[in-house]
Symmetry: C2
Subunit: 464 residues, 2 copies
């Protein structure tokens, strides 16, 4: 007969490492560095600091079967983590500070913890975390993860004098890895991260002691993204029930104005009228079926204003142009920032660019650079929504052929990037996102077409 | 300042629907049917029955914004679920009976529950489950999921007289969906499921009342897969610690023989000698560092026997050939079953086939059919390890060109299929798996090459 069991969530990710991007020793090196660097960038932006992220990798030995063991150390000047939250932040899966509706690189609450988990199951060494919020004290922890119960095991905790008022976090972990195979992807990742984060200083010392420096190109800190409320178009029954359970509002008018994005008094009244709901009704008195009806009415009410994207922090055309120029030195760059749109109530902005010539190689097909919330996506390109859009375009209409030296950039920023995988390899093809990418790429394709025909004309005139 | 929160695992999958394959109303229809059908097939095989799975979809209405609401009903003749386990099996994520090292379609403990969760958040209707193990009673539950706490909410529970001794499970759920867009994929899924499960009867009635019948082609039930123990090459420190905590063995010799696959007395002694560990030592007395050393020594000991694959249940060359012949009526079929191999201690077998002509269309590239543990994989083909292998092959060596009417089949069966995504869209590229697929495809490519050159020769002789 069958035996039934329940497993914990950390145990789930321990058993299914491929899911979180830890398929092999080389992928593990990439994923570990990436997760830690993204946490550091988020932490620096949280306090409005120009990020200074330093990564070291030291070779520490080899296993008896010849796989290398590395120590990875990442140090940042971010917000630091409050001491009482350090054990859970690094020793518990689905614990974190990014579960809000706000644009950030982190979103799942498990990336950094997965890197620590992988390190622990391959080397059985604890992670070392040192963190301070800038006060007189800094806190140093040695932690392991209780995988079956998904909770931190604190091996040691020390309080240090922080005379210099240093603020930030240092993480040190050991893991089995294959740096040689991972190296090209790691360096490409850091290079592309620097491209879309020109305000950040990133340095990397690899196991051979080679230093790679990606220094900041600007002193301007990007406008920090703001937290937003859910938009009426993104509600479902579960969300409504949670809001009703937690609300202090005692009538529907206040409830709609207080909890939803861009719903003011006038709009709330208009909606309640059209839905046939009494404005003075206590939200907690709604029946099950009324909640379902409310959810459907909110989704279909035509007059709600689209989500405003002031809560988002896109790259901006100037920065995108500057980053591409620096990295690829192309002859021509076309850039386009689409107007804000939304899927399931989540606002998003798509930014596209197309570059021609310079250091861009001629290849069988265009070179595609994908980014989401200022992080580069380097794997599984063919499943990504951007790739599918590019493949669907008839390029001969723009007198562009796929073997030209052309690079295409797509960046999407949102309060919730619709990743298809836990390892953030690629983005799911949501209709609304697909449409915006298509319009963005068509716009830059037209600009490149104009550039090419001007060039051709000039070429022809020169020949006469 | 940051606010830290912890979310539950059901809440995690509620917030990240794209991850589990519920990206859009049309994808949701596909995913829901697929998850329920796979559970039914697993349940029938658990009791050695010839599966009889019936699927109905009824249109139940429309939301105010015009999205259709469907009722999905799936009935099977499987094992049934013990009444005390029904609420958790269908109302709790990461609860199930497939967490063992045994080949099955299910592996994560969340597929069916996710379909129920998606139905609940879009329609707020409970799921109905009726199940019996064949005894005098059947049990009917109405359930919902408490998303925040990841536990079932039992709305009603009835005990029914089961006079006819019926055995099986019936699931009824409502969900928002788009059957029109989903239809081609749903029908393709059922067709390909029938192809690799020729012992199963599958019927489907769609919302328009059209009946689709995929009747069984054989009465033979495949050899049921057996549960196996972990193989020494797949250990890590976490696994060893769990085994040591739970073991009744009081010396290392017994410990190795009792808990590991294909480790007998002689082998255990040889290993312990080479690792320098005392055979009489109590496993519970090992220190932290000794456990790490033991894990590394086990991974690198060259003389352990490879995992034996008697625990697996591959399709078999005959069945694969018969299934392809029935569906595509090709002129020629080459089939190859590779010898068992292993990755991370999990045994797997790769089966390949290549078919030429008949109903196979000429296209820009080969048609690829992918299967894992007897389920078809229909999405994100370009990220799958099989696709990458096929793209890496120089086909001109086999005088085959990609625009020929050729279909390639790859099936992998294992105690743990290395899926890359929770939605089981595609398989991660583990080195060992990649190698076996490459050798399998090369073998069938050679056979097709021989067939084509014979055909050509015959053609030429006829012309003279
Ligand atoms: N370098 C850091 N500085 C400050 N806080 C950090 C740092 N690293 C991690 N944290 C805190 O620990 C939490 C957990 O990190 P983790 O990477 O596991 O999840 P996440 O970043 O929230 O989401 P994701 O899984 O998408 O990465 C974060 O939410 C953050 O609050
Ligand atoms: N039709 C069925 N007959 C018998 N048992 C079932 C049926 N459907 C589900 N179950 C039981 O409920 C459990 C949970 O099912 P669920 O689909 O959520 O996870 P799973 O099948 O174990 O894994 P996966 O996430 O890979 O599908 C199963 O493990 C099985 O024990
Ligand atoms: Mg993170
Ligand atoms: Mg299942």
């Amino acid at each position: 007969a069958q035996t039934f069991e329940e497993i914990g969530v950390a145990d789930f990710f321990y058993r299914n490492r491929d899911i979180a991007g830890f398929t092999s020793p080389s992928r593990a090196v990439f994923s570990a560095i990436r997760e830690l660097v993204e946490n550091s960038l988020d932490a620096a932006e949280d306090v409005g600091a120009l990020p200074d992220v330093r990564v070291w990798m030291f070779k520490k030995g080899e296993t008896t079967s010849g796989v290398s063991i590395y120590k990875v150390r990442v140090e940042d000047n971010g917000s630091g983590v409050p001491p009482q939250s350090i054990p859970s932040a690094f020793g518990k899966v689905l614990f974190g500070s990014k579960f809000k509706l706000r644009q950030a690189r982190g979103t799942f609450g498990l990336g950094g913890t997965m890197a620590i988990l992988y390190g622990q199951i391959t080397t059985n060494k604890p992670v070392k975390v040192i963190s301070s919020a800038g006060g007189p004290k800094a806190f140093a922890y040695k932690l392991m993860i209780d995988v079956e119960r998904n909770r931190p095991i604190v091996l040691s905790r020390k309080v240090l004098n922080n005379g210099s008022g240093w603020r930030g976090t240092i993480i040190e972990l050991h893991l089995e890895g294959d740096y040689l195979r991972a190296m090209p992807k790691v360096l490409e990742y850091l290079k592309q991260t620097a491209l879309v984060n020109p305000h950040a200083n990133i340095t990397f010392v690899d196991p051979k002691g080679r230093l790679y420096v990606f220094s900041k190109a600007t002193e301007d800190v990007p406008r920090p993204p703001k937290e937003t409320k859910p938009h009426p178009y993104g509600v479902d029954v579960e969300l409504l029930q949670r809001l009703i359970r937690a609300t202090n509002c005692r009538n529907m008018l206040d409830f709609l104005r207080a909890h939803f994005h861009r719903v003011g008094e006038v709009m709330a009244k208009r909606f309640l009228e059209s839905a046939g709901l009494d404005a003075l009704r206590d939200p907690r008195s709604l029946t099950h079926d009324e909640v379902v009806q409310l959810s459907q009415e909110m989704k279909s009410f035509k007059w709600f204003l689209p989500p405003d994207a002031s809560c988002l922090s896109p790259l901006g055309e100037e920065l995108l142009r500057a980053g591409i120029a620096k990295e690829l030195r192309p002859e021509f760059i076309a850039v386009c920032q689409r107007k804000p749109s939304a899927y399931s109530g989540h606002p998003f902005i798509v930014e596209c660019a197309m570059a021609y010539g310079g250091d861009i190689p001629k290849a069988e097909y265009f070179t595609l650079y994908r980014f989401a919330n200022r992080i580069p996506l380097l794997y599984d390109e063919a499943s990504d929504v951007s790739f599918k859009v590019i493949r669907s375009i008839n390029w001969s209409r723009y007198k562009i052929s796929s073997d030209m030296p052309i690079a295409i950039f797509v960046h999407i920023c949102s309060t919730k990037v619709p990743y298809k995988t836990i390892g953030k390899e690629f983005i799911a093809d949501r209709q609304e996102v697909k449409r915006e990418i298509l319009f963005g790429i068509r716009e830059v394709a037209r600009q490149v077409q104009r550039f090419l025909s001007k060039r051709e004309k000039a070429e022809r005139q020169r020949k006469r």
